[in-house]
């Protein structure tokens, strides 16, 4: 099977070895996580003789969407479910990932519930207790924390904070008791102070399963969508991106630092299963 796959890979590389203009959109900042993936993937594409034009919109998601909508050449867009383009309630920016345009699921980061100071999980669940929790500016995440506290007869105030630095300032100031955010479980400030993450809600809080459709989507998915490529080119691109993720030291470091999960695959069938899993959590 591996031999067949290897032959197919070589064939695809050979067939794609022609100059082609590609637009690569990074809706984030020029120095953020998206930019690392963009840079590494573009390096690989250039080796495949693609001529890549990277456009970074510095978090103006409407502009990123505009570039995507009106691009008439082969286009790749690196996006995350917490970016403006990934948020369903953001009518101006949202771009729907579909089975047709999903090029690659890059990684997922868990959303963790951690202590911001000296309070423990037992303090949170104590009936009649009162707490302040930082959440992302997301209605369903905020509602989940309220429902969870209510199930323990605890009172909670939620504060929506978008930037990690702003959240950290409030934590260092001692303004809040808990933080519910993506990727914080590996940071030095919260390491060993996290109690559970969104993927563990099923088993940890069986009584919260009525909100399952919401909390399954709490993690941050980072993925690529594309348009204007032939099926053959898409297969070739997927293989190249997979190899980039496997071999790039920069990406390995980033994955470790952000506590991300990367889904590797060895066959088209395995990739299809990963795509199915993506849409369960998207």
């Amino acid at each position: 099977m591996k031999l067949v796959f290897g032959l197919l890979f070589s064939l695809l590389i050979a067939t794609s070895a022609f100059a082609k203009d590609v637009l690569f959109i990074n809706g984030g900042s020029p120095t953020g996580t998206n930019s690392v993936y963009a840079r590494e993937i573009i390096n690989q594409l250039q080796e495949l003789k693609f001529s890549v034009d990277l456009k970074t919109t510095n978090s103006n998601c409407a502009l990123a969407k505009n570039l995507w909508d009106f691009s008439d050449k082969p286009t790749i867009f690196v996006m995350g479910s917490n970016d403006g383009t990934g948020q369903r309630n953001n009518a101006v920016c949202f771009i729907e990932a579909t089975r047709q345009n999903l090029l690659y699921w890059l990684n997922t980061s868990p959303m963790s519930f951690c202590s911001a100071g000296s309070k423990t999980w037992f303090d949170f669940v104590k009936p009649g207790s009162s707490h302040t929790v930082i959440t992302m500016p997301n209605d369903s995440q905020e509602k989940f924390i309220h429902d969870l506290a209510k199930s323990f007869d605890a009172k909670v105030k939620t504060i929506r904070v978008y930037g990690y630095n702003d959240a950290l300032t409030m934590v260092k100031a001692g303004d809040v008791d808990f933080v519910f955010r993506v990727g914080i479980h590996v940071t030095s400030e919260f390491k060993d102070k996290c109690f559970w993450n969104h993927a563990e809600i099923d088993s940890t809080f069986p009584n919260m399963q009525k909100s399952r459709l919401d909390y399954m989507k709490f993690g941050e998915q980072m993925f690529l969508i594309s348009k204007g490529f032939s099926q053959l080119e898409i297969q070739s691109l997927r293989l190249q991106i997979r190899n980039t993720i496997r071999s790039s030291e920069e990406i390995k470091k980033l994955v470790l630092r952000r506590g991300q999960t990367v889904y590797d695959w060895n066959s088209v069938e395995e990739h299809d299963k990963i795509v199915e899993k993506f849409f369960e959590t998207y």
Binding site: L63, P137, K157, R160
Partner: protein, 435 residues
Amino acid sequence: MDLTIATIIGIFAGILVGLLPGFGMSTCLLLFSPILISQSLVFCIMFYCVASSTSQYFGSITTLALKIPGETTSLPLLELMKDQRIQNRIGDVYFLTSFGSFSASLISAVLILISFEYLSSITTYLKTYAIFACSLIGFILCILFSENKIFVSLLLFIFGWIVGKIGYDISTNENFLTFDNVYLYGGIPTLPIIMGIYAIPGLFKMFSYVRSVEKQNIEIYLTERKSVLILKNWKTMVVSSFVGFIMGLIPYIGNGMSSYTSYLLDKKTNKNDAISNAVASETANNSANLSVLIPLLFLGIAIIPSEYLLLEILPLGNKAFSFSLMQPYLLSMFILLMISNVVSFYFSWNCVRPFIRMISSFNNTIPLVIILTIVSCVGYIGGEYQQFQYYMIVLLASSIFGLLFRNFDLLPFAYAFMLQNNFEQILYRLLKLYF
């Protein structure tokens, strides 16, 4: 050796940031990021500290010589340039603002060094209520003590607030005056606004200025001995250093308002001394520029945009911020920072004359050179974000606004515009936490 190289590159970068209108620390970090990514943590921090500190010395030269803001913290000095007393004693102002910047750096650095054991445990200044109180006081001072009548300042403040609010707020998921325009959706960019309302109108004044410079044969002289000038202003320098130090600690708002708060406080005590007011403003911003590093160095928190960017760049080279990694180098960093301040002070003071001479030799072409530099900087940054035309339109519109209102004090507009978003966030958090 690493630290020495960082210091040398930092001085060079700081000179660029100070002298080039619109080339702020954030742009500088973007430009130097390919170098910084491959360097150690202490190298990056040293580079940032030195560049940020050096930029303040040379930013004053741009403001005084060209009448355009080298940095946003130079805006009060720019307002003071309208005062004839400043124009008549420009040599004294050059010297005193440079010396004030130097003394502020020295005082702040010593304060940090002697209290660093306690700094990591003191976090009261990060409390939401403390940030709210300081920003509210700053805004009230800004309206009450500007050069305009109070209702004019209030109107300008409200207008600045509205302009700053334009865009999509990701926290509330609401649009404000975007009219479905993709560019407005990202908000009105700060750089073209500040350049438009200050730099372009300033160029008109420069035409007459370069002619007068030619007539006067560019004499930048001191009216009194240096020691006498320092003795007359030492109190202002010390007080402003402390005011700037405290303001710099206030997240989001403090650094931007440090020079203005100090300027307003000095105006209350030294009402008719424009020179003292200028010294207060330029001393405080240097002091704040160092104290703003305290949350970054001791707690790993960024409280101004360029620090956010630095904290984004560090992980790209797989460097996590850690105070324990920095601690063994603190004394060396302090010494090198002081050396860089001495070098900056010496060169900024000594390059004033050649700089003015260069302006006069170009005579009427210098405003053209400046306008091209501004447009290039604004266009380059806009182009980097795929918004070249948008940045140009904003520059044009704000230039017209700046020209129409050139006889007003536009600081209430500028501060409301720049700090609106942060203040609204703080207000939201305050209400959620305490009510």
